[in-house]
Symmetry: C2
Subunit: 394 residues, 2 copies
């Protein structure tokens, strides 16, 4: 068991009409001039953005707008946001959307207070010491960015996707109304579910496997999300089960599921290169890779995969055949992904196999520049990253 | 499902040698002159207090001491602490101990900044608007006060036990080293386990029973704690399982297990009068009452007790007999309490049946002055409180 620090100060306001609390929360956390940051049409068309504009105006909170965040949010827009915040004297950022918008908002928030170019931070060449406060109105449960300390930004020069984490960039508040997720398309819902599950599983597959209460909570979250997914895909307006997914999404990534464990994160990092290269949805990329990663690393500690198979996937434990039990857990996970329309290989993800050159480029890019490795459950060197990509490319 | 606000800003530093972080955390949260607040001999004898004194001195943090907190912490000591803090210009309170010490520290913290007598607040006649910051070094996992917003104080005049809750009094940090709990006596360990379980169950038995992810987490915590209890009673120095209990104790009462539900809390309030009158351990009082409460209210929603029986107590679901399944869950819970040395009736708790006069006094005192009721799963009026006490008195 690893010593840990758990610090999750984000104030979550969850439920119907949670949006009515936006202005009071901005003011509570010191905001007087707001950057309203968002993506594209959906928040406009759903009526959410017009409602928020009116709400802010009613509460005499001046705001400047910056829309246009795309999935795998771009460094260029972050730089534009930083310029805007500095020029306009913004003192609070309100991110309306999902993980991409929140991640972009976080990067703008600390970038505004960082003296040099913000990409230095993602490149491991600097450290944040100050950050504008930010809050969010969450519309896509998936990334968990609303309670997490991290953000991931894509640099268009070289299509590098890199993360940066700091407690300073945690949202002060998160407004979460499950009704706002009713209009999420099925594919995006399924991608979100996959991302939520993977945030839990990246922490669950740990060689620090003696923190039972964390494991039990992780398993509870996984089982609930798996129960919820087919229900909301069948009935998108199901408040009860949309709520389960929404709250699970935050809990999966606010560190609760990692207390006492050491996360692996290889699948996430392997995927980041995949979605940076092919601009696919992060959740779908995770589903495409996970089974191959799992088969590749399983032998390091089969008991962990047996526990997962039995406690999460409901596999009957064959005590005489741990490997068989573990494998059936992996297979059942992949069957679940397929059942909600997720790919379980790279060809299913991008419509064709990756070329030999693409595989090599992916592995090259994924290698961390400091250690040349990824993962913890099994440490992957460059050749092994290549092997996982190859396994997923069949 | 009930809308909810989740806000748990306490920074938890968990693990071996967590105590080395005390001074840095006090300074991080603005403390320059500390009230060191604690109970009696155990923290002294274990070497913890001497270690903390040396640590604070090494970090040039001046401190004043106030020991002597007893279980069911007393108003008189709180008043003494308030005078001391005002006189000495204390700006941070460090509570070293369990729930009683932390509760006493919280009352001192907001009492110091409250212009009138602090008991007004517990009497429902005032509201906290300011509070000294406080932190804790937890030695007894039970009350969950290290992450909760509440505290319970006993007024020796009339032996009234009353609670007050405010987010302002949440600990800024909680230092949690499971090794510090190795020396807890078996009885106190069992009382703590009971309190932890009851914090979870008071929220679990809710008519708002559609928040599946919260239920699943609550069940995970309950099962883990029940697994851990006999292990640590058998081997008090088992770090792994002491850690499960310690962390579960915080999660059980930091609101996580109540997201979307409406807590009942009748058992807690019925018990507060019991421990105020007989000065028994809170956890033991809870165990003595819970089965009687459960039988008394079960029929309101049998399905909830069936879920508890099956998912927590491992009872085989007899689908033809929900009441029977539910009852077996209650019986198995009581059997567990007995197995860890806890009483399951008032006579077992105090060594004799309560007298008729005592029963009437308990029910009189328990009646909330505003609504004359307790509980939510089933609202109990005075006569019904009496009935639960009577049922537990057999």
């Amino acid at each position: 068991m690893k010593d840990f620090v758990f610090c999750t100060p984000t104030e979550v306001v969850f439920g119907k009409n949670a949006e009515s609390k936006i202005a009071s929360r901005i003011q509570k956390y010191g905001g007087t001039k707001v950057l309203l940051h968002y993506g594209g049409r959906s928040a406009e068309q759903s009526g959410l953005l017009p409602q928020i504009r009116e709400h802010l105006a009613q509460h005499n909170l001046p705001f400047i707008e910056l829309g246009g965040v795309v999935p795998n949010p771009r460094l260029s827009l972050v730089r534009e946001g930083i310029d805007l915040c500095r020029r306009e004297g913004i003192d609070f950022i309100l991110a309306v959307g999902g993980g991409s918008v929140i991640d972009s908002a976080k990067a703008i928030a600390f970038g505004t207070r960082y003296p040099n170019d913000v990409w230095e931070l993602f490149d491991g060449k600097g450290k944040v010491t100050e950050c504008l406060p930010l809050g969010t109105v969450l519309t896509i449960p998936a990334a968990g960015s609303e309670m997490s300390d991290g953000c991931v930004i894509t640099n268009e020069e070289g299509w590098l996707k890199r993360g940066y984490s700091t407690n300073l960039a945690r949202c002060r508040f998160a407004i979460m109304n499950p009704e706002r997720t009713f209009t999420l398309p099925a594919y995006q819902t399924a991608c979100g579910v996959t991302d939520i599950m993977m945030h839990t599983m990246e922490r669950y597959f740990s060689l620090e496997d003696d923190m039972t209460v964390t494991d039990a909570i992780a398993e509870a979250i996984l089982r609930t999300v798996m129960e919820a997914a087919p229900i909301v895909l069948n009935n998108p307006n199901d408040y009860r089960w949309r709520a389960q997914i929404m709250w699970a999404g935050s809990l999966a990534h606010n560190d609760l599921t990692g207390c006492g464990t050491v996360g692996d994160w290889a699948t996430h990092h392997l995927e980041h290169e995949l979605s940076a290269m092919f601009d696919v949805a992060h959740g779908a990329g995770l589903a495409a890779l996970w089974g191959s990663w799992a088969r590749y690393v399983m032998s390091v500690r089969v008991s962990r995969f047996v526990r997962f198979a039995v406690n999460v996937m409901g596999v009957e434990n064959d005590f005489t055949d741990p490997e068989g039990t573990a494998l059936r857990g992996i297979e059942r996970m992949e069957a679940f992904y397929r059942s909600i329309g997720m790919p379980t290989s790279i060809p299913e993800l991008i419509g064709r196999p990756a070329t030999e050159e693409e595989i090599l480029t992916l592995a090259d890019k994924c290698c961390r520049q400091d250690t040349h490795t990824e993962g913890n459950f099994k440490v992957l060197y460059r050749k092994e990253m290549e092997a996982v990509y190859r396994l997923a490319n069949k």
